[in-house]
Amino acid sequence: MSGAGAATADVIIIGGGIHGCSSALHCRLRGLDVVLIEKDHVGRHASGVNAGGVRQLARDIAEIPLSVHSMDIWHRIEELVDDDCGFTNEGQVLVAETQAELALLKKRMRDLRAKGFTHEELIDAAELHRLVPAVAESCPGGVVSRRDGAAIPFRATQAFRRKAEALGAVIRDGERVMEIRREGTSWAVFTDRAKYVAPKVINAAGAWADRIAAMLGEPVPLEVIAPMLMITGRMPAFIKPVVILRGRKLSFKQFDNGTVLIGGGHRGVPLRDENITVLDWAKLAVSARTVADVFPIMRTAHILRAWAGIEARMPDEIPVFGASGTSEGVYHQFGFSAHGFQLGPGAGSVMSELVATGHTNMPIHALRIERFRENAVARSSEDME
């Protein structure tokens, strides 16, 4: 039955977020024929509505190599996608509010240095207040990652899409994957409109990626989350870098036009089958109180909009990235746990290498999907004892 009316490609990418689009672009650069399938429209969910932080700062060790590689691409993003994606390089600063928090940062710094990572730099109170004059006097120091910054998420995702299409990738908006079946040595992907056949499949379906994995008999413990953000009206310019806190949940960024984006991980309730999220104002109030404490100037700011995206979170808060453990030719790229935007360019580049050559020198072992099965096996054998 294969072949009848089916479109063929070298690789089928499921999911039109920045990860799917970046993988599409990089696969085309390697000469692969690409079809990307997106159930809504490109950038509709987490990739289009996130805080836009482009951050190596404060990442889990397991994803730092990928993040550093991605950062190199961000610094030449316009060469790659013909659009600067609104990328600005003002640095990101992690603020310690207490001496105890600062001590933890010092310990982390020693770990990072021992592993050879140099992108994070410890700063004292004086340098912190030089970088972020508006921060409360009492903060004793922090960490800066100077090559970090921010970009405009929807614009960046669209830029990857446009460049991928310009290079010949086929992008199908508004098509939903219903079934995936093995046909000979290829995969047949059935959508609500058509059938596609390719030897390779990339699962970059974000908050819906567990359903794609389940179709392949590879269940994962993915939690659907709805991180909330607020943006204010224009304020006088008072802060350059993106600021995040060590203790309380807060990320904070002022744009050139004066508006201020407030995020940091407080969550609303996602209803992923309805494509909507419900805000939790009691938790947004906690965000607002944190901002009022750390940046008193913000108390009179008007909140213009609050929203939440629909995102996937893994139990260990690091992504699933690499070859499937059960299905030959299938690769996973999801579960970025609310910090995947910066990783998009680099992850697409490494993914295209994996798909085209079957291997990569990038250390991604800790991100493999089998870790959940192994954990489950380990746990159940503990139970036996």
Binding site: H41, G233, W281, A282, V286, M298, L304
Partner: protein, 486 residues
């Protein structure tokens, strides 16, 4: 009526929250309370009446002929409401309505974010009636952002609430019954009006004629003719205007217009623009109610059933916010919506609900006669809805020009939400009220598809700006503290 003057005076929960104290909201509240429903009316204005009966109990314009007999009809609605047992919160901003959370799942009740005198609070209600009325359609012409250019509706607000009559030479321009009504009210109040520039397209005469049989039997006919005669007698009315431009350096000095291919200039100090009203849908949109494109009224309106219930269970939409039908219809719609809510709250049975609704439906049918004539006749020309001049600002808050909008469609922004992300249009303090329809129609025009397909901004709460300090001071429940600590 129990007036709520401080945020602490609200109860935690109500059976029914009504947003807006215009004719629909007032009529709905009075009727619902009569059936034993616990009602709160939340309204931005300082006194009841909404836009059409604004300040009807407090206006300094007490000479009845200035504002006209239709205006004074509002007194009765307000008196009935004042004598009712409803709670009434004036000067109160509603910045969010959404299904509330019970722990981590969606509850049955609505959570309503309100703000009063600089303090915010979250209330709960089982049912909600949105009676948020209408707003003026955007009128994007070159120079419409100059000081000295405002909407006719804004001039009417100043007249009704504060008795302010504009100084200097005025020009009114546009189309629609309200333009002529404001002209008549300003004439009576003694304003110096140089001209009324009527942009009603000539072709509308022809298309409106097909709807005339209905209009001849309509209550609007006599009133409309009287108004037209009065304005024509006392004003220089120039019809057939095909282009308008507000000109001046720092502020408005003159208006330039084209008529039959000839350009004319008119010196003036104030230009009042108006080309009809459209449903105010920001709140219903943010709640997630489904909306349809109305091809006659050229606007989106929420889908409602026979009880004015929206597609979101528990939310009804009455008055002009459910589609423009005028102030008298608004009161009848409000009452029907209240009967629907009282039934869902199990205060009345289906029999009584249907019996009580019958005369109201008959009244609505009568008022609907001739409405189509007004809609078709006053349909604004495309030239005034889709600006062809590249430099004309579409989004005033973020200063996005018509040229940018057109170029961005070419870049792949196929709908208003993509446009927002590319250009920031619609992301300023007005939440898209002043550019939403223009952006939808410009994309529609550039892509040669239907407005229904293009859609409208997906609006995010707060639907009205609220300060960070107000949000920060929201009273905390034990549940919320626990949820955050998790």
């Amino acid at each position: 009526m129990k007036t709520i003057a401080a945020i602490e005076a609200f109860a935690d929960r109500y059976d029914l929250a009504i947003v807006g104290a215009g004719p629909a909201g007032l009529a709905a509240a009075s009727l619902a309370v009569a059936h034993g429903v616990d009602v709160v009316v939340l309204d931005e204005n300082a006194s009841p009446g909404g836009q059409i009966y604004r300040a009807v109990t407090s206006t300094p314009m007490t000479r009845r002929e200035i504002l006209g007999e239709d205006y004074w009809r509002g007194v009765e609605l307000v008196q009935e409401f004042s004598g009712s047992a409803s709670s009434y919160a004036p000067s109160t901003t509603v910045w969010n309505v959404a299904r509330g959370l019970d722990g981590d799942s969606l509850g049955r009740d609505f959570e309503i974010g309100v703000s009063l005198r600089g303090k915010a609070r979250l209330l709960r209600a089982k049912e909600v009636i949105l009676a948020t009325g209408a707003q003026e359609r955007p009128f994007p012409i070159p120079g419409w952002t100059l000081p000295g250019v405002m909407t006719a509706g804004a001039a009417q607000i100043a007249l009704k609430s504060s008795g302010l009559v504009p100084d200097g030479h005025l020009v009114l321009a546009g189309t629609g019954p309200l333009l002529y009504l404001v002209a008549a009210q300003l004439i009576e109040a003694g304003a110096s009006i140089r001209a009324l520039l009527d942009t009603t397209p000539r072709a509308n005469w022809m298309s409106a004629l097909t709807a005339t049989p209905g209009f001849l039997a309509s209550p609007y006919l006599a009133k409309g003719l009287a108004l037209l005669r009065m304005v024509h007698r006392r004003l220089d009315v120039v019809g057939g205007i095909t282009a308008l431009r507000a000109e001046g350096q720092k502020r408005l000095n003159r208006v330039a217009f084209e008529r039959a291919g000839r350009r004319t200039e008119l010196d003036c100090d104030l230009l009042l623009l108006h080309q009809g009203i459209v449903p105010s849908i920001n709140l219903s949109n943010a709640i997630g109610c489904a909306h349809d494109w109305d091809d006659v009224q050229l606007a989106f309106r929420p889908q409602v059933d026979a009880w004015f219930a929206s597609t979101v269970q528990g939310v009804a939409i009455a008055g002009d916010s459910a589609g423009i039908a005028g102030g008298e219809s608004a009161a009848a719609r409000g009452r029907i919506a209240a009967l629907g809510a009282a039934f869902r709250l199990e205060r009345i049975g289906a029999g009584q609900r249907d019996r009580d609704a019958a005369p109201l439906r008959a009244e609505l049918a009568l008022l609907a006669r001739g409405r189509r004539f007004l809609d078709v006749f006053h349909r604004p020309a495309k030239a005034f809805r889709v600006p062809s001049d590249d430099a004309t600002l579409v989004c005033r808050c973020e200063e996005v020009s018509a040229k940018t909008i057109r170029e961005t469609v070419m870049l792949g922004a196929c709908g208003p939400n993509q446009m927002k992300a590319f250009t920031r249009c619609g992301m300023g303090p007005c939440q898209g009220r002043l550019c939403g329809l223009t952006v939808t129609e410009m994309i529609t025009d550039a892509r040669a598809v239907s407005p229904a397909e293009v859609g409208y901004y997906r609006l995010r709460p707060p639907v009205k700006p609220v300060t960070l300090a107000e949000i920060a001071a929201l009273p905390q429940t034990a549940d919320a503290e626990k949820a955050v600590a998790r």
